[in-house]
Amino acid sequence: MNKVMFFAHLRDVVGEEFLSLEAAGKTVAVLKAELAAKYDLPRMDTVMTAINEEFASNDEVIREGDEVAFIPPVSGG
């Protein structure tokens, strides 16, 4: 299983802080596209991804147990 976390406007759209789902073997891009279609997520081209708290490329493959987080453009400071 994989914990997939959402923040900011993505969290509002999905309605959950995280989902538990099977993403092992998928690339970040595939998971992103699946979730974007399922939840009608907006502006996914601006959204970064982290795997286990480190930025990951769209072509990175998710492994069993990885924690995935979708990171909209940040606005701290």
Binding site: A8, H9, K32, T46, M48, F55, E60, V74
Partner: protein
């Protein structure tokens, strides 16, 4: 002592400064980011800051390492607030100490710019007529590869 923190409570500015005190330092610069009432004429009532806390702390640490590599003898401490903040509240405090003052100013500026690029913290602005999560404010930055590009990472 934790040099990099996400805080749900108001930030003790002096406590952040105290973390970078060192005998080798000739200067300490402190940046205090505060909640502004008007942005381009629009009145903000209050903000909500949210963080991916574990990763945010790691990214603040990374910024600290980057600074220590670039400016010799540097010591850095950063605390960022989360939760509801009202106008004039302190959102972030960055303290940098260095042997000479020019480096302290430069390194501190570098830290806040990097926070705005790579640290997973978001603010939601609440106005009289609505609310919205602020991304990169102009919505001009896309991440075609899904993560910050090397260019984004070098200032």
């Amino acid at each position: 002592m934790k040099l990099y923190e996400i805080s749900k409570e108001p930030i003790d500015i002096q406590a952040v400064i105290d973390k970078v005190i060192q005998r080798e330092a000739g200067a300490i610069t402190t940046f205090i980011g505060t909640v502004r009432e008007f942005t381009k004429g629009k009145k903000t009532l209050f903000l909500i800051y949210e963080a991916y806390e574990a990763m945010a702390v790691k990214k603040l640490e990374q910024i600290g390492w980057e600074i220590e590599e670039r400016w010799e003898g540097c010591k850095v401490a950063i605390t960022h607030r989360v939760g509801r903040l009202d106008i004039t509240d302190v959102a972030v405090v960055i303290a940098v100490s260095t042997p000479h003052r020019a480096d302290a100013y430069e390194a501190n500026r570098y830290a806040i710019e990097r926070i705005k690029e790579i640290v997973p913290i978001w603010k939601k602005e609440h106005w009289e007529d609505g609310e919205e999560w602020m991304g990169n404010q102009l919505e001009t930055v896309a991440y075609p590869s899904g993560k910050p590009e090397a260019g984004d990472l070098d200032e």
